[in-house]
Symmetry: C2
Subunit: 167 residues, 2 copies
Amino acid sequence: MELNEAKNKYIQTWGSLATSWGINKTMAQVHALLLVSTKPLSAEDIMETLKISRGNVNMNVRALIDWGIVSKEFVVGERKEFFVADKDIWELFKQITKERKKREIEPVIKVLDELQKVDDSTEEGEQFKKVLGDLSFVTTKVNSMLENAIKADEHWLLSNFTKIMKK
Amino acid sequence: MELNEAKNKYIQTWGSLATSWGINKTMAQVHALLLVSTKPLSAEDIMETLKISRGNVNMNVRALIDWGIVSKEFVVGERKEFFVADKDIWELFKQITKERKKREIEPVIKVLDELQKVDDSTEEGEQFKKVLGDLSFVTTKVNSMLENAIKADEHWLLSNFTKIMKK
DNA sequence: TTTAACTTTCAATAATTACTGAAAATTAAA
DNA sequence: TTTAATTTTCAGTAATTATTGAAAGTTAAA
């Protein structure tokens, strides 16, 4: 397989993984593109490669910056902005996990705990409170599993792996 | 807050958590409803409570059965089918994790590993292969973290928690 | 069998989500 | 300053995803 063909397939694959986890496809593809680029890319570069509009590039690049996984970079002699993705994939995983915990898990735990305060001692009410308690417990458990994962420093493992592969 | 109000809020909250993780909202809501029900529910029951069509109920109940988190139950003297959700929330988490691993993570690892075979030794090509290797490594790592999570038997922890809460 | 209760399917449609492109806003060079 | 390059915004539209409802299919009671 030829390099550009492989790159395309990689960008497609990453986009559909994102979609199945509720992340915008284009956002993932822009990120995927920046990840494998050897140099910073401008909005134009991204527009051309992914064949998407300027507005779309702008929105998704902002979102990626907001997620903390892409940053602006200035290129000497150039007026326009360029973008780069942090190439450290373990860092990437940690960052995504951190954001999703904050955005999507923690608010739910809060609501579940709030709802448990309902005052009802019928069988139905007790059953309801038991399920809420269990859901909240498991959600909290998952949340702390993720917390541990992002705290553990696996950098050495990854850099080690890459070194071995280079041989 | 009154019980039905709390139930509604819970069903809504669970539905939107699902949406943000790429799972159909109604599917999550049907499941949420079955979870807090003290008795098996028929298609009609679900239609009425969630105000959705028969077709929609049918499709989503099938999907839940396919995911292994809901099952049919026969009620004596009734012709039609009834459904129940397994009330064990840790089991639920394990089952969902297992399915998503199989459906959405493992196929991606396979593609990434396949693409790494591309034969190209330009700087661009090497960079590409390095990123693919790292992505594959981290994805595999996450996959095995999840594997460990579902293997660990945390049942005692959950049942213990519930007991404490009942006091 | 026949009949009726019940379930499934899926084309049509609705709802949601994502994208475009051009106008407005911003930035910095002239 | 002016001017031109660049970025941002967002109303309109396109694409995708989810839902309905009625017809076809299935099952079991009569």
